[in-house]
Structure formats: structure tokens, C-alpha cells
Amino acid sequence: MKKSSIIIIVLIAVAIGAIVSSYGDASTYENFSVAAENPEKEYHIVGTLDSTKEKYYDPKTDANYFTFYLIDDKGKESKVVYRAPEPQDFDRSEKIVIIGKMNGEIFEASKILLKCPSKYTENEVKAS
């Protein structure tokens, strides 16, 4: 067999590996119910802030502890814990994307992406 044929076979194998891997590592946009069923997997959840419930951030006692309540797009609500300071523009965001997993009743967010409306243009602020 020609060496180039061997190389091509190896190449195809690695390419398939890459496809499988990026598919396997990919997270999905889901809601709290799905996240609760698979507590070991990390999901992206899109939702809005429940402004009727209090969000909590007291930097003096703990600068790395911020909680709030998020309503997902199916209308289900969950408490979210984010172990970092409250993103500054949090209150003004109209849509919130949280990335993380369910831990019992609480969603542990490792990243928060905010979609903020501004007067004329749309802006994104990323906090992680």
C-alpha cells in the first residue's frame, strides 16, 4: 500500500474522531426540567429574571456568592447560584443565558451571559 493511502486513512479516522468529539462535548439549550433529570450534565438555559423574588448578593459576607431566581422558557422557575460577583448590568438584562448544572433544587451556574437591550442597538455583556 502506498504511504499516501495510509495517511489518508489515518486522516479520515481523526476527522471522524473530531466530529464525534465536538458532537459529544456540545452542550444543548434546554430547560430546568431536563437539567434536573440529568444532574451530571451541563446545559445552557435561556430565561428571564423573576423580579418578584429577591436576588441576593452581599459582597461583605461573601464576594463570590450571588443567587437569583430564573424562569426558563417553559415557565419553570429555579433558584440559581453563581459563585462570582453579581454581573453589574444584571438588572437591566431582558434575557439571561446560564450555563451549568442542577445540584438538587439549585442550579449551579458557571457562566452567565446577559442580553441587554439598549436604546437603539443591541449589546451583549459577558460575565464568567
Binding site: 502506498k2 504511504k3 499516501s4 495517511i7 486522516l11 481523526v14 476527522a15 473530531a18 466530529i19 468529539s21 465536538s22 458532537y23 462535548d25 456540545a26 452542550s27 444543548t28 439549550y29 434546554e30 451541563e42 446545559y43 445552557h44 435561556v46 459582597p59 461583605k60 459576607t61 461573601d62 464576594a63 463570590n64 456568592y65 447560584v81 459563585r83 462570582a84 460577583p85 453579581e86 454581573p87 453589574q88 448590568d89 437591566r92 443565558v97 450555563i99 451549568g100 445540584n103 439549585i106 458557571s110 457562566k111 451571559l113 442580553k115 441587554c116 439598549s118 436604546k119 437603539y120 442597538t121 443591541e122 449589546n123 451583549e124 455583556v125 459577558k126 464568567s128
Partner: protein, 799 residues
Amino acid sequence: MNEVLFEGERLIYGNLGHLAVVLAFGTSIIATLAYFFAVQKPEEKSWAKIADSAFYVHTFSVLSIVGILFYIIHQHLFEYHYAWQHSSRELPVQYMISCFWEGQEGSFLLWIFWQMVIGNILLRTAGTWKNPVMAVVMLSQIALTSMLIGVKIFGYKLGSSPFELLRIAMGNAPIFKRPDYLSKIVDGNGLNPLLQNYWMVIHPPTLFFGFATTVVPFAFAIAGLWKRDFTGWIKQALPWGLVSVMVLGTGIIMGGFWAYESLSFGGYWAWDPVENASLIPWLILIAGVHVVLIFKHTGNSLSVAFILILTTFLLVLYATFLTRSGILGNSSVHSFTDLGMSGQLLVFLLMFVVLSVVMMAVRWKELPKSAKDEEIYTREFWMFIGSLVLVISAFQIILTTSIPVFNKVLGTNMAPPADVIQHYNKWQMPMAIIIALLTAVAHILKYKKNTGDAIRKIGIWAAVSLVIAVVLMFAFELTNWFYIGLLFASVFAVIGNASLLKPMFAGKVHLVGSSVAHIGFGILLIGVLVSSANKQVLSINQSGMQLNPEFDAQANMEHVYLEKGKALRMGDYEIEYRKDTMEWVNNYYQVHYKKIKPNTNEVEYEFDLYPNAQINPKMGLVANPDTKHYLSHDVFTYVSSVPKEKGESKFVHPQTYEVAVGDTIVTNNGYVLLKRINSNVKDGKIDVANMQLLIAAELEIHTLDRVYEATPMYGVQNNSVAQFESIVDDAKLRFKFTNVNPANGKISIEVAEKDTSGEFIIMKAIKFPWINLVWGGTIIMIIGFTLAIIKRLKDLSRV
């Protein structure tokens, strides 16, 4: 329809601008067609003349667009949407240049500008290749200028004009019904605060120059296929390819440096889709340049060289599509909003894909191919393998970056991996190891035939590198096997290539370009490895307090609460937030660092960092980090949160001291000296006439690093005591003159400390060891590329 006559609009500039855009678009069409016919009908000489003239007019109109747009921004003509949206009055001039490319239209204009410059160079240097190459370059220029037209054709809006009026762009807002609307628009929207950084002035032009240069090797490849001169195109395409690799690489790393210096994610690379989008064509281009070299020296792999060179440009277009169509949506920080041009961008991309595929397919059978099997002990074999690894590496990055595209096409709802960094590192690290090893192996081997001598050299240098790598492994305290593997491979890349520097000492510096570039690459890899593997978050919460109910993991506690004036121990550092100063719109927070020797608690050295933040009305807190650079490490600090508003100053712990002139009082941050008691006060603010007595205590306040003055006063007015306090803000002290004791000549001074508990910052600090190797490696790489380009240009002029 009754027209409203608007007052104060300076429409002439917009009209001229529009005219220039249309002219640029029109002339690029004429030039493309004329160059095309000049190739197809070489006997009709007039085609080339028409084409060149059209190109000159094109050059003039592109320069006009740039000039007019800059004038509009510089003169604050806010009747134009672009000026209003991207600039504001108080913006310094250097940032006005950044406004220029903050928007989509401006960045397309930048690309058009560079492609025009490149066209002018080609016009003078491409010789017999001029007509076919310019035909392709101008075809790309048609596509780019069409993005600026902004005219509706058959109900479809073609492009988006940078000269659109605000009142038209904003449509129906009631303010635009008033004829005097312009007088109501006081200021523009302003420049995104993240872009208010000097790196943002030079990073985009560099990157876009890199993007623009990729069209040249592409055009030469197409021209080669077109004219059936399958090998002649390489001579000129090669130096251009090297320029492209160098400039694009510089642009990418500059972007990383900007991110490191001014963004608060803490690093220079985040595998963000937009970063990936520029990295992918770069990797493919590097692979392409190597395969072109293989062909040049051995006559093999020509078809692969064609494919890679063509693909590079197509990937630049794909990157443009990804970042500007809005398809990345939630997955990127670089938010270019969709201007409704995604369709047009897709057409642009497909047009060039079809062109490339058709040209390759039509000529495929005619391409010279070698039938014989490759020798293993040759440079070309391992260079080829290395190029393929680069291709796989790029392929893997494309796959994950394109997840939003798959969602659109397949209707799935995949999201990018939750831990992106880990996902990419898992793939890219082994590939980096292979590539680093191959840079040394392939380079030591010679083309075509090798003796045992070369293989023995590889063995010797590998052994030397192994020894060095083991020493470094202990020095850097690496334990992960992947890291150790990468360390060895990178050291081998440096050492192996350094062994080839011999011609340099014989004065032939231009011959060692590729060795130097590969040494730079090896150093860059070591820098990336050590600065990320040994990256240390200094601000891990040290308090050990566990106050919150769901407090289970210590992970993620990477931010510290720092009260003004209170020192805090953070690892080997003691830090103190001292004060803040406003400068323009930014608030600078002075954080004083003391490096403490772990064993003796001695202070080794001290420095101040000034991370800043601006409370932007549109974006909230926008924080810029500050970094202390040392040769061996950087200390990186940014403010992640500040109090929402400042409270009124309160003073606490008042204490009264009885003192005579010359006495001192010890305070919490220094001491106070009573210099003099002045009974003859002339203070304009106090009505002395009604006072039976007014005396002042002249105090000198010594803090750690400065001396201040204060004069609290004591008065008697209509038989009642009046006190006039004196506050020294910077020393955080308040003084009151409360009593006089005539018996012993002493007076009573009350000292109170400012209550600083309301003033705090939340900050994060990271130590990056040996990050200078990343920048140093990059600079060496650029020097290497420059030498290689010089060598290729010499080759070119020799013929």
C-alpha cells in the same frame, strides 16, 4: 407627500460619499470585466488599458470614501447615522480612528482599502500575471464594495451605507418629524468603551490587512489554473503567502494582547468564535505555504498546494460570514449585529466557492501529479505530515465553532461545549506536540535524500532537548503528562531549529528566516504552556469563612472583597485598596501590592496597580485590568464589582487629645503634629466681626507617604462655642478643635477616622508566569517571517 425641510444638515458630504461608493462599485465591475477580456483576448491591447484606468478611478474613489467618512466622524456630523452611532464629542482623536472600524460598514471599508492598496502593488509588480490576478482581486472588490451600497434593488437591500442619515436609519422616531431635529441631537452614542484602547487602534487594521492579503495567493492560484501555467504562479504567490502568514499572525496575536490588556476575562485567548474564525484560515495558509514549498523543491503535491491556497481565502470569507451574519448569536462576545446582509455574505462566499471548485474540477486532469511513493527520510515527507496535522487542527476548530451554523441548517439546538477551553485543549494540545516535533525533525532533514548523518543529528538534538525539558519540568513544577510532552516538543523545536542557524554566523542572515520563525514558534508554545499551566489565581478567597447556606465547593471563589484602606493578605501578597481617581470617564482604583517573603514576612518589593472601570450608561460596569509586568511573570488585576453609589462620608471613633505646640498625636495611618496656634485668623468664609475669639490649630498630618495640612478652628460667638472642623479626605481624617485650656496653654483636638466601610472593590488577581515568552516568541516569529520574505523576494529578482 409634503417634504419637511430639515435645518442644519450638511448633505453634501453624504451625497459625495454615496457617489464615491457607487463609483468604487462601478469601477470594480468595469475593471474585473476588462481584465477578464484582457486575458481572454490578449491581442486586443485596449482591454488592459481600460482595466488599468478603471482601477485608477477605483483607487481614487476608495480614498474619497475613507476621507469623507473620517471627516464626518471627526467633525461630529451627527446627522449621519455612522458618526452618531460610533462616536461622541469628547472622544480623543486617536479613538476616532477606532470609531472608523467599530461598525460593520467601516470594517468592510478597511478591507476594501487594503485590497485597493494591494491592487496597486500588484499593478506594478505582477508583470505578466497582472491581468488574470487583478481580474480575481477586482472580483473580490466587487463583492466587498457591494456591502457599502445601501440601495434597495427589487425590494432587497444591497449592502449598508456608512453615509446613511440618522433620520432615515432611525425611521419613525418622532424627533425626526421636527425640522430642527439636529439641534436636539447634542451628542453621539459614543464608542464602545471596550474599544477605547490603543491596541484597538492598530489591531483591526493589521488583522484586516492580513485578511486582505489572502486574496493574492488565491488570485495567483486561480490565474495559474486559468492560464494553464500550473507552476509559474508559485514564484510570486509564495512571498505574498508569507506576508499574509506574518501579518495575519501578527493581527491575531495583537488581538490576544488587546484582550489581555483590556478585557477582564483574564487571558489572551478564550477560544471565542471570532478568534477562531481568524485562526482557522491562518492555520490552513501555513499548511498551504509549506506544501507550496514542497512542490517547489520536489515537484510533488501540487494539487494539495492548490487546494490549501484556495481554501485559505474561502475560509476568510467563511469567517466573515460567521462573524457578520449574526449567526453566532449567543456564543460570542464580539457582537456584530446582523445588518440584514447575511444573504449577501452567503452569496459572496458561495460565488468564490463555486469559482474555486469549478476551476479545480476543469483543470484537475491536467495537473501534474507524481506517481512514485514518498521517501520517509526526507524533509518533504514530514513537512507534508505536519501540514496535514495543521489541517486537522483547523478542521476541529471549524467544527466546534460552526455549531450555530449546524443548528440553523439541521434544526438542532446544540450549544457550544460548556467548558470550551478544555474541549479545544484536548484536541489542540496533542496536535501542537506533533507539529512542534515535526518543525525540528523536518527542518534538520534535507529535501529528497538524506544520509544517516541527519538522522544522527536529530537523535543528538532530541537528547539535548530532553535534558533541558526535564530541567524545565522541575523548574516549572509540571506534572501533567500532556504538558510535559508539549514542553519537550517545544524545547526540541527551539533547539533543533537553533542548530540550523549556522549560515547566520557566516553573514547570510536572510537564509535562516525559517529557522528563526520556527524557534519563535517553539518559544511561543513554551510561553503558552507555562503561562496557562502555572497560571495562579491570587485572589482565591483567603478568609476561610463559610457563611452561606449552600456553600459546598471552594471552587470558583476567585474574587476578593477589598475595603478601602484595609490591607488584606492574598497568597504571597498583601494588598490594599487606597483611593480612586476619576480621569475622563474612567475611575482608576489604586491597589497597592506588597510582595511578602513567605518565610520571613519581609516585604520584598511593592508596586501599585490602577485597574479602572467606567460605569457606562449603556453597558454597565466596563472594567479594564491593569498589569504589572516583570520579566518572569505578570500580576494581572481587574475590578469585577464596585458599590452602586457612594454613600455620604461618615466619621467614626472620635478621640480627643490634649496637646501643646510641638506635640504629636498618633493616628491609624501616621501621626499629626501641632505646628502653631494662630489667634489672628483671617478667613474670608467666617464673619470675624461677630466673634469674641477665633483661634486656629495649624496641623501637619503625616501619613505613610504624604504630608497634608489641616486647620480646625475654635471660636466664641455671643458667649457660645463655635467649632470649625477640618477634613483631610486623602488621609481619611477629620479634625475638630474642641477646647482651650488657658491654665497650661494646651488645646483639645478631636480626631475621627473616616468610615470607609461603604467603599470597596471586588477584584480578581491572576499571576501569569513567563507570559513574556508568548510575546517574545511572537516577535521572533515575525522576524523569521520577515527574513524568509526577504529571501523569497531576492529569489524573485534574481530571475
